[in-house]
């Protein structure tokens, strides 16, 4: 369904008139594959390049290097009409449910907008589809004449999801769809997403900084740090037996009721994405770092079947 190959994205940074032009390296050589019907979880701290990667996948951020293949076609090599057609097959649910809906449009118009843009639907067809979608995402038919300001964050997110699936897309990019919601609403939306996945046979790219969500929903997972994957593999395996020290510290940071567990505290800050240090990007904060880590950049290697890590000294 989706294949990303060696993707790199950097942004030029404004510098002084005479100083050298510098670049923020937001994504550095990421490759991933998502099969049809699968849910791929993308985790990482804020600022690690998750959203930039998503932007590239949906064709909104031309990568500096590498390719995005959607159903076998190189997205950025397609002609404009083919590109548009391909893009209609992937839709996105945004993190902030408040800025995702135009405050001047009523719900009917918001949800029907993609149909309106594609064209070829009669007014009745659109209305029927909107009712169907409202039902699907758990809103009532009367809601279609109300405005975004009348809804809570969770309800808005439902509207956003309804809009995203209105054109029967095959791939849904969920960019932290529940991060901005209350805990109780959070669980409802997660359930809704899982139900939709099952009912409609969708493929998800699920982005989150919440490990629990990723664990619940995804089949495979990629752990991102400073623009590249630290670890990549089947969710169950990565969570049960993480290879990379970074994954370890992430998992250890998840709050549990287990009093016995000593939290592993990661010290220091994330290095600047403008001047990425040589060697392993996590070396400056890694509790297991060796001299080699400061010099040589580790590559993703398969340490267990399907489970890859970019580490010289993985925890096995």
């Amino acid at each position: 369904m989706l294949k990303v190959e060696n993707l790199a994205i950097s942004f030029p940074v404004k510098a002084g008139l005479f100083s050298k032009r510098r670049h923020i390296k937001a994504v550095r050589g990421v490759s991933l594959t998502i099969q049809k019907g699968q849910i791929f979880g993308l985790v990482g701290e804020s600022g690690c390049g998750k959203s930039t990667l998503a932007q590239a996948v949906i064709g909104m951020q031309r990568p500096t290097q590498g390719q995005v293949f959607f159903k076998g076609d190189d997205l950025y090599a397609l002609s404009t009409p083919a590109f548009r057609a391909a893009r209609q097959n992937m839709q996105m649910v945004f993190q902030d449910p408040f800025s995702a809906l135009n405050p001047r449009f009523d719900v009917q118009r918001i949800i029907a907008e993609p149909m309106h843009i594609r064209g070829g639907f009669s007014g009745e067809q659109m209305e029927g589809r909107v009712l169907e979608l409202l039902n699907l995402v758990g809103l009532s038919p009367e809601d279609r004449h109300r405005y975004p300001s009348d809804f809570s964050g969770g309800q808005r997110q439902r509207i956003g999801i309804a809009r995203a699936i209105s054109l029967h897309p095959e791939l849904l990019i969920l960019d932290e769809p529940v991060s901005a919601l209350d805990v109780s609403v959070h669980a409802q939306i997660m359930n809704l997403l899982m139900d939709l996945h099952e009912e409609l046979g969708l493929t998800y790219l699920f982005i989150s900084h919440n490990l629990a969500d990723v664990k619940d929903i995804s089949h495979s997972v990629g752990v991102m740090y400073l623009g590249s994957f630290m670890e990549y593999g089947p969710t169950a395996q990565v969570f049960a037996q993480p290879l990379h020290p970074y994954t370890h510290s992430l998992l250890a940071a998840v709050l549990t009721l287990d009093q016995q567990k000593e939290p592993v505290i990661t010290r220091g800050d994330i290095p600047s994405p403008i001047e990425v240090p040589p060697g392993c990007s996590f070396a400056s904060r890694c509790p297991l770092a060796q001299p080699k880590c400061q010099v040589e950049t580790p590559v993703l290697l398969e340490y267990r079947p399907g489970q890859l890590a970019a580490c010289h000294y993985p925890v096995i």
Partner: protein, 324 residues
Amino acid sequence: MRTTRRKNNLLAKIWHHPQGQVGLILAGLLVFAAVAAPWITPFDPYDVTQRAEKGLAPGWPHLLGTSISTGQDIFSMLIYGARVSLLVGIVTGLAIAFLGAFMGILAGYGGRFWDTLIMRLVDVMLVIPTLPLTIVLTNLFGKSYGMIIFIFTIFGWVGLARVIRSQVLVLKSSNYIKAAQLAGASRRYIMFRHILPGVSNLLIMSTALTSAGIMVAEAGLSFLGLGDPTAISWGKMLAEAQSGGALLFGHWWWIIAPGIGIFLSVFAFMRIGLALEEVFNPRMKRSGMLLRLFKSINGSYIQEVFDAMDDRPETDEAGKEAAP
């Protein structure tokens, strides 16, 4: 039902706003006075042949007396003056809204080339001293209100274009526009369905506020004798009162009358603008921001006219505040 209430027209909303109501009533009266002037004025304000009636004090039938040198009926002149003020104010306000919206959207959504071009043009326009230029242009091409509207528009769109551009930049990065792009929306679709409606509030509001500002500026230019010499306007009435010796003879009503006219028309449109601002943005803090917007739209112009009118040395304060 909510929908019907949302969609109901803007006039009703302004009407239900305490400040807006005052503005609407006043503006309505002024428009009526301007349109019906030939029928409601008791005398012909252009009649300068009433030698026997010169310099009368307010009374009957000359409600506000007559001018000292020519015996024109001041009340009738006052009503006729509304025509020039409203016409110049409203037409310029609309023209500025159109030009400002066009330039602002082009700069914000037309790509880097247009953005750079228009913003540099804005920078240049902002530093051109408009009053000397107005004097030159009106003397070259004839003193008419068409010319004044043209000049006000050419220099007035600048501030609005900046405001619109920044609003477009905010809208452009919003997620609902991204969602529309994902669904395959063309640039045209996004421009007309999302961006233009997104700045329409700003446009409507600025039209009301700009009109108010232009009315003051117009009075200033007419006072300086740069308006149409054959038309009757409040600014020109003030100039005539000054040259005709109103102060010397203590004919205060001759000065107060056009002053009230100018005040009422500006007040009415400011009220409407303020009401619109609050209708569109109920949570807005009312302090300062509006004044700044108002000044940034046409402040430099008004300031210049005022500075030319009295001999005060130019205070830098207003200029500083106007700068965003």
